[in-house]
């Protein structure tokens, strides 16, 4: 059903000098401690990473609860901040599709889609035989997902030992890791434009509309990058 050799190859992407394990651990430890502060118990904190597994959305949820936002507001705020997962899935899954593979694998494993797993898969899918790419992806996903859940628990349990300076240090690890990964991915002009323009427009549009900034910045910067690539044949 699942090619175990390729699955473990995916799982092993947690090792080595390009491993996402450290940044994932850092940010989910910080999240675990934050959820404890927000009044979650251990099971609820673990369940949040198990079922949501998307850090920015979980942060929005915790902060919305702290300020007493309504459930509908939480839904909309989370949907807007995690909407990036839609274009991310569409820009990855066609690379993994093979007609010999059952569709349920795609519909279930899309839960593993997060920035870290996406960047790893985009970086290494070419090395995997097309037929087995989805099993490789499931390996990457299981590895990153379980790391996130375990580290949320670790963060919750160690919350009282983490002082504010340590928490600030943990919180920077994730954006630094993602920035480095994205700079590594800037192999052609349109991706480079997408990354640079997106970085500028994200905070700029945030000044006018906090909730819609990601969506608009992504659409504008992405479309400009795409058109530029089309015009210049890259």
């Amino acid at each position: 059903m699942i090619n175990s050799k390729v699955f473990f190859q995916g799982l092993k992407s947690l090792q080595g000098s390009r491993s996402p394990a450290i940044p994932l651990a850092a940010c989910f430890i910080a999240l675990g401690a934050l959820l404890k502060d927000a009044g979650f118990n251990l099971q609820q904190s673990a369940a949040s990473s198990l079922f949501t597994y998307a850090l920015p959305g979980q942060l929005v949820m915790a902060e919305s609860l702290l300020v007493g936002a309504s459930i509908l507001n939480i839904f909309i705020a989370v949907w807007l901040v995690n909407f990036r997962l839609y274009p991310m899935t569409v820009s990855l899954f066609p690379l993994l599709v093979h007609k010999s593979q059952p569709k349920w694998k795609y519909y279930l494993s899309c839960h593993f889609l997060a920035v870290s797993s996406w960047l790893i898969a985009k970086d290494s899918y070419k090395k995997i035989d097309k037929k087995n790419r989805i099993d490789f992806w499931i390996g990457v996903g299981v590895g990153t997902w379980s790391t996130a859940i375990l580290m949320t628990i670790a963060g919750y349990l160690s919350a009282e030992y983490l002082n504010k300076d340590m928490m600030v240090g943990l919180a920077i690890v994730n954006p630094v890791y993602f920035f480095c990964m994205m700079i590594g991915a800037m192999r052609n002009i349109s991706i480079s434009i997408a990354v640079i323009l997106g970085t500028i427009l994200g905070p700029l549009i945030y000044l006018y509309s906090a909730e819609w900034s990601l969506l608009f910045a992504g659409l504008i910067a992405g479309t400009v990058a795409f058109l530029f690539g089309e015009k210049n044949g890259v």
């Binding site: 939480i74 928490m167 920077i172 905070p203």
Partner: protein
């Protein structure tokens, strides 16, 4: 409602709001060919949305990261990207160093 019920409801709602985007993506993917222009467009939008999120996380951070100053955050990002390029794309080193530098600079 009790606070534990609100928390459980919030977890369910957050998970649903997140999974919708993933599932829609998986469904759309069945119809998108890798060679198509639509795929290229989605690829650009995915990278730029992610970049927008990261830019926002550094300039207007939520949560504990907002305890540090903007200049220090930008400095840390630049130092770590330089290390990443200098070490021929080692990711472990810049990430560990980023946490240490920021913790030290923030506590000073």
């Amino acid at each position: 409602m009790e606070s534990s019920q609100i928390i459980i409801l919030a977890i369910v709602v957050t998970s649903l709001a997140t999974f919708i985007s993933r599932l829609m993506g998986a469904i759309t993917s069945q119809k998108v060919s890798v060679e198509s222009k639509v795929f290229n467009w989605f690829n650009c939008v995915a990278y730029s949305t992610l970049a927008a999120l990261l830019g926002r996380m550094i300039i207007f951070p939520a949560g504990v990261l907002s305890e540090s100053t903007l200049i220090i955050r930008i400095l840390v990002v630049f130092i770590c990207i330089s290390i990443f390029i200098y070490t021929k794309k080692n990711l472990v080193l810049p990430t560990i160093i980023s946490a240490i530098i920021l913790s030290v600079l923030t506590s000073v």
